[in-house]
């Protein structure tokens, strides 16, 4: 390793290609390689999108006869699929579209609000719940589930007895077991909820909603999406709140502001970069969610992913042109929002994630 080049680069044959001409630039060879890779990958990313777009303008004939690539050259673009969907078939599409918007919007708002409040609390307020109480709580949950599931006890009675027992026992036990958990443990518990595959919890949730007659409603989906995305919000916002100087909040507390006032007037505005990014992320996840909607909806609250997935079932096979239009109108709002918030994405959620 003693061959440190002493002569200025760019003089001899090969080195002209492998060494940068100036500081802060790439070598010619490197830059050719780099741009080749970038352009290749851009094509790989963009081609499926391009194909979706042109297919949406094709006649069934253009699709079935084999591939045609260039509009106006290979084939004449035709709006029939768009017309079918947006004019003739409007009733069929608009309902799930509207459902998706409602569900994504409300679940995002709830999720970001509840999640950032919890994240803030865990970043700034000290919680020290007793370990014994938590164990007791989980045990009573198990007991209630067994009582309801296996012995068929009415769920209201079981819940009432469990709460009463829990209060009594936790009082009695708390004097003997002094171990406590801290904020870090609560945070870890909340974030780790994301590991749960939805399919593990969906069947009891399905049965719960069936009991309270909420299957196939907005409420069911909104509640589920809120919980599923909570870990993400808590995790990312926790990092954000911690990066806000605590002086600001202490000063506000001295000046007579309440916690809520501090949170909504000082903390949230300061975290708006992260808030925007998290909102976008949660919104994309709710908008595109499939498996929970598949379990919980049938007709009324059906969302767009279910509609798209169901388009396979037609007798004539898949109507690719219609499918492409549906995919496009589904992408549209998200891409629009993402382009608007592009700056936030780059700086916001990613840096939050980066810090871990």
């Amino acid at each position: 390793m003693s061959s440190i080049p002493l002569e200025p680069s760019g003089t001899t044959g090969l080195r002209r290609w492998t060494e940068p001409a100036r500081i802060g630039e790439m070598s010619p060879l490197g830059s050719i390689l780099t741009y080749t890779i970038l352009i290749f990958w851009s094509l790989f990313v963009l081609f499926p999108l391009y194909w979706i777009v042109i297919t949406s303008f094709k006649l069934p004939l253009d699709v079935n006869a084999g591939p045609v690539y260039l509009p106006f050259v290979d084939f004449t673009p035709n709006l029939h699929a768009w017309r079918d969907l947006l004019v003739t078939g409007l009733g069929e599409t608009s309902k799930p579209y509207f459902n998706s918007i409602i569900v994504a919007l409300f679940s995002t708002v709830f999720c970001v609000l509840i999640g950032s409040m919890a994240a803030y609390a865990l970043a700034r307020i000290e919680y020290r719940p007793k370990f014994a109480t938590i164990i007791l709580f989980v045990l009573s949950l198990i007991a209630v589930s067994v009582a309801i599931g296996v012995y068929g006890v009415d769920w209201r009675i079981a819940a009432a007895i469990a709460v009463a027992l829990l209060v009594l026992l936790s009082r009695a036990l708390s004097n003997h077991f002094q171990r406590r958990v801290g904020n870090g443990d609560i945070l870890f518990w909340m974030i780790s909820q994301r590991i749960l595959p939805p399919v593990v919890v969906i069947i009891p949730i399905y049965m719960m909603f069936q009991q309270v007659r909420l299957l196939d409603t907005y409420a069911a989906l909104i509640l589920c999406y809120t919980v599923v995305n909570l870990p993400i919000v808590v995790w990312l916002m926790h990092d954000f709140f911690r990066s806000i100087p605590i002086d600001l909040e202490e000063s506000a507390a001295l000046d007579g502001a309440s916690r809520f006032f501090i949170f909504f007037d000082i903390v949230l505005p300061l975290a708006k970069v992260g808030l925007a990014a998290v909102t976008l992320l949660v919104m994309i996840l709710s908008w595109n969610e499939y498996i929970l909607a598949l379990f919980l909806t049938t007709t009324n609250a059906q969302t767009m992913p279910i509609l798209v997935a169901g388009m396979n079932a037609g007798e004539r096979g898949i109507l690719w042109w219609t499918m492409c239009v549906v995919i496009l109108i589904m992408i549209l709002p998200v891409v629009l929002m993402a382009l608007i918030l592009q700056r936030f994405i780059a700086r916001g959620v990613l840096l939050g994630a980066v810090k871990g």
Binding site: P245, A252, G256
Partner: protein, 384 residues
């Protein structure tokens, strides 16, 4: 503020007493800390602190970083809970009161300005948080802004202001709700040296104008000397000395205070008391008073000492370097392994390793017990 004061209270009267009434004056309150103890985990950061601050007094808590001065201030503000002891403000026990009911305002080292609010909105925040209607706010904001000369910047955001201007906004935000006690946590340490001197004078004047009780934390002994009615020197969570700046400077109670005050600080010569003399490397001086044999430290201030020809001073030594600092020449001389600083007139000069002698008035020499650090009731004997 009575039962805990076992030290001379109010060596200097608060400035408020002889100042004439002004419209901007606030209702000052006294602050008393009794037996305050605070630990973070197993670290005891404040140990049995007793302190009585008079209404309208400017009290400075001085000490190196980590000495517990900021924690003490935060406990007065209510941002930390004391483990032991009692805090009263205006003769009301506030030990367990939420910060917002303590009627104190605090200026943070970082200023804690809200970056998403304009200057006016920042100043308005304490009023808004207290639910004061918008119509009443405008006048108060204007008055507060005028008191710190920021009335022309009300629509700016903090990022558009210079450090000194931000400092003023933080002050205005503290003034606007007319608290009876002001707390300041190193408010000037983020400013450059020139601005710091200027703001120091303004702060002093503002406190005089408002007549408010001010508790001020700093590690800069010049700030403490210039601003305070009384200085509290702290180290390792323990109060070392309390008194007027002059008392603390001229009559340091122990080695720590002596070594902390002054720039450069007091010179120390480590040695021992034996046979009524202070003996050290090449030094032997007669003593009077308590001359019980023990290890001891002789201290004297650089500005009290003089360099003379060999044989005519208290002891002989050599020059290490001489530096012209502008108003004085700072001469460093070596004595054994120690080096001592002497401030000489600015036209004094000496080459390296010149043999000289050092002298200082016997009354300006202090003797400390090396083991405990306490000042001894021992003096140098006059030699002529």
């Amino acid at each position: 503020m009575s039962e805990t004061a076992d030290y001379p209270v109010m060596a200097a009267p608060p400035a408020g007493h002889n100042a004439k009434k002004r419209p901007g004056r606030l209702q000052a309150k006294n602050v008393v800390l009794e037996n305050i103890d605070k630990s973070f985990g197993s670290v005891r950061v404040v140990k049995d602190l007793n302190l009585s601050v008079g209404a309208g007094e400017f009290l400075v808590l001085l000490g190196p970083s980590g000495c517990g001065k900021t924690t003490a201030l935060r406990m007065i503000a209510g941002l930390e809970e004391a483990n032991e002891g009692k805090i009263t403000i205006g003769d009301v026990d506030v030990t367990n009161t939420l910060p917002k009911y303590r009627d104190v305002a605090m200026v943070f080292q970082s200023y804690a300005l809200y970056p998403h609010k304009t200057v006016a909105e920042n100043i308005a925040f304490p009023l808004r948080a207290r639910g004061i209607p918008k119509s009443e706010r405008a006048g108060a904001i204007r008055t507060a802004a005028e008191q710190v000369h920021m009335q022309d910047y009300l629509d700016r955001y903090p990022r558009q202001l210079s450090g000194g201007q931000r400092q003023r906004v933080a002050l205005a935000r503290a003034i606007v709700r007319r608290p009876s006690v002001f707390l300041m946590d190193e408010p000037l340490s983020n400013l450059d040296a020139k601005l710091r001197g200027f703001m120091r004078a303004e702060l002093k004047h503002l406190q005089h104008d408002l007549g408010v009780t001010m508790i001020y934390v700093t590690h800069d002994q010049i700030e403490a000397m210039t601003l305070a009615h009384r200085v509290v020197v702290m180290n390792h969570g323990v109060l070392q000395q309390i008194g007027t700046p002059r008392e603390v400077y001229d009559q340091p109670r122990n080695l720590f205070v002596a070594g902390f005050m002054g720039a450069p600080p007091m010179n120390f010569i480590h040695g021992a008391i034996a046979n009524n003399r202070f003996e050290s490397h090449g030094v032997s001086l007669p003593l009077q008073g308590d001359t019980e044999p023990r290890k001891a430290v002789l201290g004297f201030r650089p500005e009290d000492a003089l360099i003379t020809e060999t044989g005519r001073g208290l002891f002989d030594t050599t020059v290490y370097t001489a530096e012209l600092t502008g108003d004085v020449t700072l001469v460093t001389i070596s004595l054994g392994k120690a080096s001592l600083a002497v401030k000489m007139p600015k036209d004094y000069d000496a080459d390296y390793d010149t043999a000289v002698a050092l002298t200082f008035p016997h009354a300006k020499g202090f003797l400390f017990d090396e083991a405990t650090g306490e000042r001894l009731k021992t003096e140098l004997q006059t030699i002529t």
